[in-house]
Subunit: 106 residues, 2 copies
DNA sequence: TTAATGCTCAACTTTTTGGTTGAATAAAAT
DNA sequence: ATTTTATTCAACCAAAAAGTTGAGCATTAA
């Protein structure tokens, strides 16, 4: 396997799982404990913890110890590179389609 | 595993692999045959064909039969949903940061 | 102090992924 | 007509991912 951009790899991989995306969406409503995040899913606590570990490795969230609980927060910034990658591709298409349009109008 | 958005799943999964991202980037320079796409990588023809199958399933490319070769083209549009997802998240952060800034300026 | 709660860790299983090789197919070149 | 070229297919393999269960560790509540 090629390995030249770990950040993009980790980000896209983290986002490829619907459970993890749902957790990120959940966290937009504010910080939550692991238990609260696990609740909507039919998976074990440990599985949830693993998903959050992947999100944390990808710097998409941060886990903060708070007494015996752990609060998860969204982490800004990590998504930027992935977003930039997609936008660059979209830009390619926009310009390609514009060129086509221009050509058709001639 | 939860399964409520196959399009996002497939797109992000397809983009999570660096070989596949490199192939997409390669295709921005114009359509290429499978052989040409395989060339920069130390993997077999069959492996390349599989990667392209995943990209095709995700509607990121299209394979067009052309004689005994197959030309691959980038496919616009499929990336939009993934891009929109990321932009929505980024927007969340922008507004959160703006709110913070406003609060600090008071 | 003991019991319960919130979470992680370690070991294990199953499924998916990314790769291989060799045979099959279809078109092009000889 | 035969061979070479371009690609796919099928069967397989190893490693990674996603899940499980049960033990272990802090912290809080009784």
């Amino acid at each position: 396997m090629v390995e030249y951009n770990d950040v993009l790899n980790q980000t896209f991989r983290a986002l490829a799982d619907p459970t993890r995306r749902a957790m990120l969406e959940d966290l937009r409503r504010g910080p939550k404990t692991i238990g609260a995040l696990a609740e909507p899913f039919a998976i074990s606590f440990a599985a949830t913890s693993k998903h959050l570990g992947i999100l944390e490795d990808a710097r998409l969230i941060r886990r903060e110890k708070q007494g015996r609980e752990r609060l998860c927060h969204l982490e800004p910034g990590a998504m930027q590179e992935a977003k930039a990658w997609l936008e660059q591709h979209a830009a390619f298409w926009n310009s390609a389609l514009e060129a086509l349009e221009t050509a058709l109008n001639e």
